[in-house]
Symmetry: C2
Subunit: 336 residues, 2 copies
């Protein structure tokens, strides 16, 4: 068709008419479950093909009680994290032969509740709630008669199912990689202590250092903001402190990018003098930047994939509890 | 329900049974179109409420021939651009009371074709093809009996409907803003001349300069890559050339970010000595960076929104042709 004159959707009646049979016969001919004369079936199949007829799979699936569809309600699509989780969820659903219906509630709980109703009406087989707020959220207020999973943000109710980042293990991973690279004077610049990813990554870093008989330069993590400006300022402060430092574990790539620029400005060689590692493995901030550094990928795509797969594959049941998805150490270049 | 013991979906039979009426009576009671004794209707409504019964809207919509759903097939969800277009498309559909089914073809034409079939089976009322390749794409090979639109990538067939960035107008916009800020010695560092966004933005810049009786510093745009490294290198080359320059229009924010860092390294004051403007209005690369600069937002969300709205609102027809969506000049800080 062209943009201006779409043909209407072909119905079974159209196929029957073209094949010169009754609608009932056409219907039987298109199903393998009925005996229909071979020549009749052939005529109907040719007519169906010629008219691009598609059996109404959705209606049939509805009758069978499975729409092969899961619903996703995301609290936003404009941050750096939620789109990654949604990308993984689409993948996970596809791996199970399911498709996704996507809604963006823009963080509005009333809208979220409305979309839950819309998805139930559309008979999705599972519901995935994605939020990139790193703290746990309240469960949905009303009972939901289909499996529900929470991704990225966990759920405060332990009876619910959630798929979240394991921040402790990646923290450990980043520090262990630095130690393995021969670093001993390791500092940690990260986000606000009020946020659990910052606290948990710091805990992982501390555990790895303790296991190696080391302690953090300055004694404590340098908590601040998740942005480039904090990475820049904290690195300046660290270098000005006079403490010897041979590695900086940065709690996020924006912080890492700021640290990298400050080190460059001070002509501190990376990784010759100071090793550098961040978290996120961000495409534009790190991998495509002029000065990429090692990073721990938090596997947000993996979180979405695991959650959607669990929902799409479930036969009405889903294992409750908190599923921790570990990160992966990546080396766009070795700056450890 | 808890995560481990979901109740099954309530059927009309369950409601009828609880209300102590026949299924036919329950069905009539739930519809305003039939006369049912008030007490009976009340009993059925209470049973439906108690069991969280939802009428099967989807099946009803199917019978009426409108699923209030549009299908989106995106060629990727991991770039910087496609997720923005998808975010807009979800918004556009929502504005028309429609929902979206999302598929990611990962740039695989066979998978795309398979998903087209899946979406037709699901009786979507329109189909949106999103690709963040800036060049036009081929139309779908087979005839599609519902409205189709292409977003971000246009379609090489003029009979098709596409919603794409107008790169010329934003180029003009960036140069005009620089001229309005008193700049006269304007350079243009941009992406490869082989790509139409680079060529078209450069054309817009040239038009604005010509209209003001000016010409580009160096005579021609500095074509290279879309990345930070090229912004950094080209700016160094520009400053080393000895040509006087008081503004740089950068073809993208990654280039702009590299230029900004080079200007900082050379202690060239922005905007005191050199004004700076990019394209994209990128969240992490520019708005949240330590040194944000002015930028032209290419309105990718607007492109997705317009395309999805056109599809969701269409009654089987959609105006063919190329819809150019203009950019918007934003000033996170004035660096012009």
């Amino acid at each position: 068709m062209t943009g201006t004159s779409p043909t209407r959707v072909t119905t079974l009646q159209d196929v029957a008419q073209l094949a010169g049979v009754s609608t009932a016969t056409a219907s039987k001919a298109l199903s393998d479950r009925y005996d229909v004369r071979a020549s009749t079936r052939q005529r109907v199949l040719e007519a169906a093909d010629q008219l691009h007829f598609m059996p109404n799979t959705l209606a049939r699936d509805l009758l069978r009680g499975n729409t092969h569809t899961i619903g996703i309600i995301t609290s936003n699509l404009d941050g750096r994290f939620a789109p990654e989780v949604v990308r993984g969820a689409e993948e996970g659903a596809a791996l199970e032969g399911s498709s996704v219906i996507l809604y963006n509630s823009r963080g509005d709980r009333a809208l979220e509740s409305y979309y839950v109703g819309e998805l139930l009406k559309r008979r999705v087989r599972g519901l995935l709630l994605v939020s990139d707020n790193p703290e746990d959220r309240e469960p949905l207020a009303r009972p939901i008669p289909i499996p529900v999973a929470y991704a990225y943000s966990g759920c405060s109710s332990p009876a619910q199912t959630s798929f979240v980042s394991d921040d402790v293990a990646p923290g450990r991973m980043a520090a262990e990689a630095s130690i393995a690279a021969g670093r001993r004077r390791i500092a940690h610049i990260t986000g606000p202590a009020s946020q659990s990813p910052a606290r948990n990554r710091a805990r992982g870093v501390a555990e790895a250092l303790a296991a190696a008989g080391l302690s953090l330069v300055g004694g404590t993590p340098m908590h601040g903001s998740w942005n480039e400006a904090w990475g820049w300022d904290a690195t300046a402060r660290l270098l000005d402190s006079g403490e010897s430092v041979d590695a900086i574990v940065c709690g996020g790539d924006q912080i890492g990018h700021g640290a990298r620029l400050q080190l460059e400005r001070r002509s501190v060689n990376v990784p010759g003098t100071v090793g550098l590692i961040g978290f996120d493995n961000s495409l534009t901030l790190n991998r495509e930047s002029r000065l990429p550094f090692s990073s721990v990928d938090m596997e947000l795509v993996g979180i979405g994939r695991a959650a959607a797969q669990a929902l799409a594959a479930s036969s009405g049941e889903i294992t409750s509890g908190r599923h921790l998805v570990p990160g992966t150490l990546v080396h766009p270049v070795h700056t450890l």
